[in-house]
């Protein structure tokens, strides 16, 4: 299997779906000749033309809303916002319009759109270009929320998201774009709502999302040297959330650490912790622990930004504290 970056995997998914289905098109900020802020849509403008790869003005409400309107009218748009932080400008179109159309209208609307947004800290982009906002989206009934951690998952899940008949929020960590992994040439799908056990283990379950999956795998290597075996679960999709895979693991390991880059307070880990506390409390031998960002905006200065971002050493520390 060929090694490809996460970015190439996404690009390939877009190209293959556009090739296969004429209803699929791309719209967003600088997605055309420029190829997208991080390069995800590189080459697609030349290949498919401006009729299917559309540069929009920097007006997020109408990007998201036009995608929803076009989706409700029979197309399958893939919209890109340059940074997830810009969704604040367009939230109404996402959560009051796209997400609710089906339910409000008694099941008659279908809104098959994907909203791709890079998120996460680590490139010195400061408070308005670095957040992890998945908890906002998973709280809204009607949205699906996907955040793949590997190139393989990125391609398969983007294809699934494009084929899904619901609005899907697709969150890509900027620092994952350069990560390499095995990616098949051919088109394939990955069920949205199915977690992946990234490493089998017996002593502690670590549920990690997006870039933190890689930190968790690093932590597992370190702790393995001390004879501590981590099971690393990547939900890959936060809505729907595969709680069964998480619960099965906790029933086996009796301990749970949750790792994400979003702010800890009311972050996605709060929901995962609550699910486990409600459904597998008797299996827990220790309190559930969260490794996540502190409650502050993402700072600019490199040492402060590094202090903000949780990492493998934080997971190691959290696991050791359980024992």
């Amino acid at each position: 299997m060929a090694k490809k970056t996460y970015l190439q995997a996404l690009n390939e998914a877009l190209a293959q779906e556009m090739e296969k289905d004429e209803r699929v098109f791309i719209l967003g900020e600088d997605v055309g000749q420029f190829g997208g802020c991080f390069g995800v849509t590189q080459g697609l403008f030349d290949r498919f033309g401006e009729g299917r790869v559309m540069d929009t003005p920097i007006t997020e409400s109408v990007i998201v809303g036009a995608a929803a309107g076009a989706a409700a009218s029979g197309l399958r748009p893939v919209a890109e916002l340059m940074f997830v932080d810009f969704i604040g400008v367009a939230l109404d179109q996402l959560f009051n319009q796209a997400a609710k159309m089906r339910y409000m209208f008694g099941g008659k609307a279908k809104v098959p759109m994907v909203l791709r947004m890079p998120q996460g800290a680590g490139i010195g982009a400061a408070a308005q270009h670095s957040q992890s906002l998945e908890a906002w989206f998973m709280h809204i009934p009607g949205l699906k929320v996907v955040m793949p951690s590997t190139p393989y998952d990125a391609k398969g899940m983007l294809i699934s998201a494009i084929r899904d008949d619901n609005p899907v929020v697709f969150l890509e960590h900027k620092l994952l774009y350069g990560v390499e992994g095995d990616v098949p040439e051919e088109s394939y799908t990955i069920e949205l709502g199915k977690a992946d056990i990234k490493r089998q283990g017996t002593d502690v379950t670590v549920v990690a999302t997006s870039r933190m999956v890689h930190s968790a795998l690093e932590a597992a290597e370190i702790l393995a040297k001390d004879g501590i075996s981590l099971e690393v679960i990547d939900p890959r999709c936060l809505q729907p959330l595969d709680t069964e895979t998480i619960l099965d693991s906790v029933r086996k390991t009796h301990a749970l650490v949750i790792a994400h880059e979003a702010v800890c307070f009311a972050g996605p880990g709060a929901e995962i912790a609550a699910q486990v506390a409600e459904k597998a409390f008797d299996y827990l031998d220790a309190p559930i622990t969260r490794v996540a960002a502190p409650f502050c905006p993402v700072p600019f200065s490199p040492p402060l930004e590094q202090a903000f971002i949780p990492g493998a050493e934080d997971i190691v520390k959290a696991v050791r504290a359980l024992r």
Partner: protein, 319 residues
């Protein structure tokens, strides 16, 4: 007036269907039979009817919180609408949407909307889809004077014009954004002036004259079908009732209301029809009587329909 009798009488009928539907909703709301709240379209009938009469079933509209009139004008079923605002399982949306969230995708009604300015981007997207699919379908975006100040509206006007999308922005200027008069919320007198900022035609019409609306929107629809892009048509009108039923309307005076009620679009149109010899007073009375019967049937349907089963609560969250 060179329009056919058929279209003229149809417009007259639809105006009466809206008038009687809204009057009935007003009564049922006062009687406590309709849950939540309703925003009535009484007095503004000429706008929805004049505009939607320019469309076919293939064309689309996006509507507003004051949406009953638009839905009826686009062909919405009175029984299903009445049942929906009663919260009944037989309603358009199985009772899940209510007054502010009615849609009929088969008729191109992409939904009323509880958010002021919410429909602009959706209409722009529907128009984008029509262009993408290389059809000549057109979308009308209804929005109020309040919504004209929203960023979503400005973003939509801009994108629609930049991409020459087949959408017609029909502004219903009834003078008030809830309680706030237009003079306090914007510096312009004519909202249509804003069209110039996006290099599209902006037209002001008497929104209580159904033929003026029909002709202005008709031109705009033709232009959109030719691929020449959007138009902003401002229809000056007035709502007879408050923003919502129960609104005491302390922010406007009786003289103003009376002045506008004297410009009631229905008798004005009636006079024209009779003067021009297109219809007799008896014929028009017959139209009203038929509409009244239709409304009685809708009311009977809504009242006798069952409320939703609780098992419906979690249905249709996802496709």
């Amino acid at each position: 007036m060179s329009h056919s009798k058929e279209i003229m009488v149809k417009m007259y009928t639809t105006m009466n269907r809206i008038r009687m539907f809204e009057s009935m909703a007003q009564e049922y709301f006062a009687a406590g039979k309709i849950p939540g709240f309703v925003h009535l379209y009484l007095g503004e009938e000429a706008v929805a009817v004049g505009a939607c009469s320019c469309l076919t079933d293939r064309d689309s509209i996006t509507s507003t919180h004051r949406g009953h009139g638009h839905l009826i004008a686009k062909g919405g079923d009175l029984k299903l609408m009445m049942a929906e605002i009663f919260g009944k399982s037989t309603g358009y949306c199985k009772g899940k949407g209510g007054s502010m969230h009615i849609a009929d995708f088969d008729l191109g009604i992409l939904g009323a909307n509880g958010i002021v300015g919410g429909g602009g981007p959706l209409a722009t997207g529907a128009a984008l889809a029509a262009k993408y699919k290389k059809t000549d379908d057109v979308t009308i975006c209804f929005f109020g004077d309040g919504a004209s100040n929203q960023g979503t509206t400005q973003e939509s006007l801009n994108l629609a014009s930049a991409w020459k999308l087949p959408v017609v922005f029909v502004n219903e200027n009834n003078g008030y954004g809830i309680s706030c008069p237009q003079c306090k919320s914007m510096a312009v007198t004519d909202i249509a002036d804003r069209a110039a900022a996006y290099d599209m035609p902006g037209v002001v019409v008497d929104g209580n004259d159904v033929l003026a609306v029909y002709e202005a929107v008709g031109e705009a629809v033709k232009r959109a079908r030719r691929g020449e892009g959007p138009t902003l048509v401002e229809c000056k009108t007035y709502r007879w009732r408050g923003h919502f039923e129960g609104d005491a309307c302390t922010y406007r005076c009786t003289e103003e209301l009376n002045e506008w009620m004297a410009k009631d679009p229905i008798p004005r149109f009636e006079e024209k029809l009779i003067e021009s010899g297109l219809a007799t007073a008896e014929e028009l009375e017959g139209v009203k009587a038929a509409v009244k019967k239709e409304l009685e049937a809708a009311s009977e349907f809504a009242q006798s329909s069952p409320l939703p089963e609780l098992s419906a609560l979690l249905e249709d969250v996802y496709a």
